[in-house]
Symmetry: C2
Amino acid sequence: MVQKIIGPRALPHNEQGEAFAPSNIALCKYWGKRNSDLNLPLNSSLSLSLGHLGTHTRIRANAFKDEIYMNEQRLDPSAQFSSRLIAYLDLFRPASDCYFRIDTHNNFPTAAGLASSASGYAALAMALNNFFSWNLDGASLSILARLGSGSAARSVYDGFVEWHRGESEDGMDSYAEQIPAIWSELRLAIITVSRAVKTIGSTEGMRRTVETSALYAAWPEKATRDIESIRHAIWGKDFAELGGTAESNALAMHATMLDSRPALLYWLPETVAAFHKIWRLRQDGIQLYFTIDAGPNVKILFEEKNEHIVRGEFDDAEIVRPFVC
Amino acid sequence: MVQKIIGPRALPHNEQGEAFAPSNIALCKYWGKRNSDLNLPLNSSLSLSLGHLGTHTRIRANAFKDEIYMNEQRLDPSAQFSSRLIAYLDLFRPASDCYFRIDTHNNFPTAAGLASSASGYAALAMALNNFFSWNLDGASLSILARLGSGSAARSVYDGFVEWHRGESEDGMDSYAEQIPAIWSELRLAIITVSRAVKTIGSTEGMRRTVETSALYAAWPEKATRDIESIRHAIWGKDFAELGGTAESNALAMHATMLDSRPALLYWLPETVAAFHKIWRLRQDGIQLYFTIDAGPNVKILFEEKNEHIVRGEFDDAEIVRPFVC
């Protein structure tokens, strides 16, 4: 169990605290936990934050009970989403009769394959930091966000972010850092194949993979090598290396899922159609690569110069400019 | 290189030799070679022969040159198919100016995902045995067939067949044996998603996987465990264990392909649609399992009692009764 955390200055708090955190797409995926209470991963991961796409959260003190609003709608406190969030808030209450009102806004479709929990818990950790005036540094915010959702550890920064898996049992060395590189021409297109909420969540998917997949044994080492390649690609601005490694990493993660029992296949027919289309375009000389998370939707990595081709070929694509304000 | 093989009685030969060999579907797949000249595998495999579906081959002496007819059509001797077959015949010529006429018939669609090379080289090895009156036993025939195509090692028998990978460098312990069990109620449905010849053949696919997939390291051991389970399922007539293991084994093989660079994905959108349909039916209590080879077509394993359901749900399925004459 996670111990209760009270910041250095729990009281007095500000009238309100607020923060924005971007969503992020991993180029080297987080797949497998070594500790599911603390969300400690079995491998390091590396992501790209999605600029203005993300979650804004405001926190205020509230009387008598917690109240959570998402996109102006009051959430049922007994819903799974709320009870997980309330359990997270329990870590930070100055006293057991202190309650919060949380107002959170996502500016992307929830559960459309973009991890709303990543930007959500990052924004919440940052809003708490603001509310209580803790003045925490990035690493500490990343650790607090991680306790809400693993990939939230990466959403406390913009741009390229590496989450170090760490070694210690208490997780105090398992946090993300920004890779201070800017790649303005980089683009990402989100191909939404399905908006349905996935039936097997990531936590359950990871557990099943780690416990039942024989092939998973080789995954953490592959992830380590892939992070090396992606870092190398970032500093050398080598798009083919960046895209090729990210695509291979995503496919390897899905390979470990396939090898689980029962098998995990998040892909739909349209997912595979998108893969083949991207490969066909690449064979024609257009540098498109894809990545895919634990869901059916496909994210295409490309450079600014190919934006018209992506718009033409994938007409419902949402195009993200991670480094453009 | 393979040494020239001349049987104990190369001359005189009979006027003609002929044989039929069934096609086979692996329940535990052969994926990865340790020696590609001798077709020695990195893992043992276990298959089910397809009864009357297969290849019939007749061999006669011919003057001046080899001639190969497939389904009554003379093949271009310079085509890849012919030159591979002629190189195989070279192993057995009593003298360099001895030529053969080969007449071969497949009673299933060639290149429709059924390995025609498996039944083809098994039938050819058995026809040669008949032509030269070698009177070879099953293990020796299996070795000769293996030199033509790895999975042909399993097509010299009916029913369940296990191909032992063997340890020796010359491959003399790498042959198949029949598992003498009969399971009359067992059925297989072939769902042909595409009849196109695959662009990456199995030999190249295996090479790429062995050389580039990090996850492949765990495959041979998984195959060993899967063979144990399938043998156990056969003797106990445990259909769920048989089907579940076969499905998991096929998905693991495809997982190692996915992890290759460049990635190998033989699936089409229709392939994934078939998987989801089979899983949905299974959730509804109908015991269907699938297996899939290095191609897009899906093979469903089921029991006789569910034949009407398979016919109703998959109207273009070809249904095979492996143990029914």
